[in-house]
Symmetry: C2
Subunit: 334 residues, 2 copies
Amino acid sequence: MKKNNVTIADVAALAGVSKMTVSKVLRDTGSISKDTRDKIHKAVDELGYVKNSLAGLLSSQKSSMIGIIIPSASDTIFAEVLSGTNSVIRPKGFNTLIGESLFDPQIEYEALSTMLSLQPAGLIISGGIDRSEETLALIAKRRCPLISLWDGEDAVGDLTIGLSHYEAGETMARHFIECDFRKVAYVGSELDLDLCARQRFQGFRDTMQDASRELRVETSIDGSRQSLTGRQLTESLIRKHPDTDAIYYLNDAMATGGMSWLYEAGINIPEQVAAAGFNGTSIGQAVRTRLTTLNVSRRAIGEAAASAILKFIEGDTEIDKHQVEVTFVQGNTT
Amino acid sequence: MKKNNVTIADVAALAGVSKMTVSKVLRDTGSISKDTRDKIHKAVDELGYVKNSLAGLLSSQKSSMIGIIIPSASDTIFAEVLSGTNSVIRPKGFNTLIGESLFDPQIEYEALSTMLSLQPAGLIISGGIDRSEETLALIAKRRCPLISLWDGEDAVGDLTIGLSHYEAGETMARHFIECDFRKVAYVGSELDLDLCARQRFQGFRDTMQDASRELRVETSIDGSRQSLTGRQLTESLIRKHPDTDAIYYLNDAMATGGMSWLYEAGINIPEQVAAAGFNGTSIGQAVRTRLTTLNVSRRAIGEAAASAILKFIEGDTEIDKHQVEVTFVQGNTT
DNA sequence: TGAAGTTGGGTTATCGATAACCTACTTTAG
DNA sequence: CTAAAGTAGGTTATCGATAACCCAACTTCA
């Protein structure tokens, strides 16, 4: 909070050179003698000079910031994506600007808007959310590369990295059919908000229908997509349909919540009721339970997105569409 | 990536007013007639003008960015802190700049350094890491409020928010003594990096020593602080000391990893070996296992830090030292 | 020996917005 | 009726750095 702002002008004055020379030395460009370089570095140390990047960015019209917008930083799925992008970006000297949309189109719009005003070098935006018209307009107006994640079909921007959630749902449905489950249910939440989850559900539902299997659906609009909601929905599902023999959950967290209720209700997994989730998070692979699920490397998605953004920034346009691999995990719950 | 940069000058020209008038209208200051305001908004829409905050920040010498440095964004503990701060900061119009230190003092220094050069309005820095001399020098030179998290005794900055990890270790030790465990072990990792974990260990160890209880310690330097490491260390611990009757783990994740090995080895929890962790994360409260642990609200820590930073920014210096509450969770593992 | 290249650095003009201070003209109050 | 106060908007000077260009003096070599 100190007042005195040390600028390169002060450094220049102390070192007895011009501002431009200081700027060059600090950026390691131009040809400056070892002698002056030393003088300048000494002055920098003496004054405790800290560069003001804002001024530099404005002047050079370049940016060192890469923005990433995800629904929630505390959701381990997105946290891992974030960590993946950051691990690629940081060593290259870029900073990460983060925005959370909380699955709210309006908040997403605001996050994007303020982010764009900071002139980022690139933008990574997580999909799985219905975007507002305004947001799409903003995206169209952008002046930096933009990569969307996890978006499935209706992606925006220069490139999409992720997987087909519809196919993921199909995959699990085929597994359920192979296991010959007869009274199958789907448990999820916030399907109106989470587009990816909705696509998985649709893929699952369509495949079950094609096989002429009945499907019970237990969803809520207001519950979060976490453990507790899975527990509650499982309870109400089983009360309505006690003969259910398999449940496909929106994600691993909801699956563990649901399974803990089944366990406490004395219902054996998988003998009486089988369960499967999505994500391959560690919570599904806990002490005695190894949840059947589809594993996705969130970190790999983040890393791929970051690498692609860096390529775009460097002007490389030869970027191949990147599909992240999904692996089926056979646990002991189906 | 389009060339044409629309600036307020363009907007002003189209609306037939001066740049200053546009600036005032966009910031909603000064007194401008409804008529000109409309003209300007129309011009803004027509041109698709997007504000360049960099220029504004440079000129006004204010900042809309708050930086937060945490060891890892993918670690659920820190992800929740991050989410907590962001939830407070965002509605107030601030942006979050994130840095990951990966528990590496050098990386932390670099993150802090580039962050400071972006002239943030405030800084939140997570503790639990031994800081380098350079980092401390940078912190001393800063021109914005700085709050440190989770730091225990040797905190830096204007305020610390968190808890005493030493006391947390003591609390769990007292519980172990009450349960009358005799052959107690501690399992942890990376204690050289994670200062907080080290303090918990010390609190635990000291209390056990005061009660003249033997304590076995199984730690590794290179393993991460996650589930798999807990599993491996538990295995080697039990091989060395088959009579161990209780294990205090560095955190919940390591505890679940350890317990899954115990389970598979046919060792009953808690009859043969009891287990406890730290954090109160959902992974500890899975299907059949409710881990005994100490619950800390990471989100509350993040929120408290963000609120405090905002107060500092507003010039309020009457900020009370904030201690976050820790609650003992009695599970079925001890 | 003189043209051309190299080395080491300085000048000037922005980048896009805002702070601080003005300037007319219009009200309002005494 | 006039001075004080308010309304609506404009001028000018930065903020701190960088791009682009310029300029001496010294080498180098045909």
